[in-house]
Symmetry: C2
Subunit: 346 residues, 2 copies
DNA sequence: GTGAAAGCGCTAACAT
DNA sequence: ATGTTAGCGCTTTCAC
């Protein structure tokens, strides 16, 4: 609306404008605006006042080109609707808050191709670091990361070989431990319910670990069910109904995430099933949404916020270790048994 | 890890490197890389091959400075954990997909100060447009938006005076209509439950509209309850218990969002209350999470994805109207009565 | 404490 | 179809 108002500049303001308005050289204006010392208090105030009056906003593009420094950190995640990732992003934002660095988010929709183009796009802004979910990338992406010459932190997962630093949990181990807990509680006919997405490597690794854990006890998955798309809660209900119709003797259901698990739990409770005696359930992630359910679903905390924080700390050069790169941080998710795993008396 | 590998460049590659490797002038390389026509197929391929081999990633900073064009759109929202905003962002991303523009997200945590600094930071990258949630900004922020000289789209809300374009719904009207529906269904003792956040202007406007709607029928809010922080589902339970303990004769509860509404609904059902006869409930947003509940909470769709799309279309210069700025798009949220509002026999 | 000159890596505009 | 020149708005470096 105000585009043609009397104060609207035809072109954006530059340092020169502030310089002229304050009667001080561009160089000194630049120093004041970047709070570099060695400027007299008088000049400082004159400049600041002029800049404020004009409504000057510095041009970081020119600044970055001249200084060869960009205070941006590229953050690349598969999705924003997963609930997990916004929490990781919060952790990153918090840690970066007063580091002078600014996160820029990119979303891949679990597509390797899209990851490649998002990464390319972001690297072309010459960020100071990259935080990227997962260890599985296309050859091109991996090459770009290796050649970027900046700190790279792969997050969420540690099962694989990182380009540089890595912060995450072992989903394989998480699966194994969940299997052990379930078997230890006496369940024997165990089903797995998860996403169909072929690119959700972490869910796949959890399932593989889970199978390995069952194998330790001489067990196998009794049945499995996969979905894609739609409301997770609803899908959880539907899949639970389907798998139990097919296989009524199942005594435990392991879900690849908490939301479908919660849907399944609600379905079981409504059907009047005895949870956790007749049937036990568990999910994954430890989303605090579950705090609101009357019956708490067993789950495992994925340490999302902490992962974000630690990754950001590495990029900001603030991690405790003196390492310059190649840090390897494995966090340990903790089983939260809730009310849906039978208590063993031993 | 690979930082010191044999192929790691000490400094980033430039056009000049590609130029030398391909034996073609920088200018022609630049043309090839930007797919500007007027380059022979032979040269094109030579250049592309050289760039690929070297692993050249263009420097957008230099490009933007030279061309005075930046393909970035600043998107500023209060929060990522609200579930509503990721959907808006998805709508924006989708619409921007093949426009050549790239969204960059910033989060304010519902703080006006933070909004100001995020906005300043983003404008200093000279984006091609700004999409920002809400119509309430600090004086400084408003001035920055007015002087930016680029398309500004304020989203979510239309109750107020926009800087330039606006895409959203009237939360006031949404409140009024919900009140009319509730009163029309015969409820009379109505309570409101919402967030305490003083900066959630949209929730406030819904409440004000709601009160206005009740007033049309000579009614007032019988009671209210506010919360801040914590798991929304859990808070919904707690607030519901509290308000009904204080005021057992309430026959309807209007929640400022679906998550606390779902918590309240679960609590009522567990207590064996007759929903919707003895007590009715309604939320706001139309989150698809509700699809998974056995009893569907009444709600109103906030048109989140659509808002994102339309806003992005305006910034991309693709909106249907021939206007250059100052577009005003008001969407109409639709009441989804679900199972928690008594059916009237009229 | 302040200023002048050079140049960051690209692209617009104009040759050829 | 390709090359040359100038300059985007800053910061670095060095001089005063």
């Amino acid at each position: 609306m105000n585009r043609d108002g009397p104060n609207t500049p035809r072109r954006a303001l530059t340092l020169r404008d502030v310089s002229e308005a304050s009667g001080v050289s561009e160089m000194t204006v630049s120093r004041v605006l970047r709070s570099r010392g060695d400027v007299s208090e008088t000049t400082r105030e004159r400049v600041l006042e002029a800049a404020r009056q004009l409504g000057y906003v510095p041009n970081k593009i020119a600044g970055a080109l001249a200084s060869q420094r960009v205070n941006l950190v590229a953050v690349i995640v598969p999705s924003l609707s997963n609930l997990v990732f916004p929490e990781v992003l919060s952790g990153i934002s918090e840690e970066l808050e007063d580091s002078g660095l600014q996160p820029v988010f990119g979303v891949t929709n679990y597509s390797t191709e899209r990851e490649e183009s998002v990464l390319y796009e972001m690297l072309s802004w010459r960020p100071s670091g990259v935080i990227i979910a997962g260890l599985e990338h296309s050859d091109n992406s991996r090459a770009m990361l290796e050649n970027a010459g900046i700190p790279i932190v792969e997050i969420m997962d540690v099962d694989g070989s990182p380009v540089d630093s890595v912060v995450g949990i072992s989903h394989k181990r998480a699966g194994i431990e969940m299997a052990r807990a379930i078997v230890g509680a006496g369940y024997r006919k165990i089903g797995f319910l998860g996403t169909k997405m072929p690119h959700d490597h972490r869910a796949r690794k959890r399932m593989e670990g889970f199978q390995a854990g069952l194998a330790e006890a001489g067990l196998e998955l009794a049945d499995q069910e996969f979905y894609s798309g739609g409301s997770a809660l609803l899908k959880g209900r539907e899949m639970t109904e389907a798998i139990l119709a097919r296989n009524p003797e199942l005594d435990f259901l392991y879900y690849s995430n908490d939301m479908i698990g919660a849907g399944g739990l609600m379905w079981c409770l409504e059907k009047g099933m005895d949870v956790p005696e007749r049937i036990g359930l568990a999910g994954f992630n430890g989303v605090d949404l579950l705090d609101g359910l009357s019956c708490r679903l067993a789950t495992m905390d994925a340490c999302r916020r902490e992962i974000g924080r630690r990754a950001a700390a590495i990029v900001a050069g603030r991690s405790e270790t003196g390492l310059v790169g190649g840090e390897h941080v494995e966090l340990s998710p903790v089983l939260q048994p809730g009310d849906t795993i039978r208590k063993t008396t031993g």
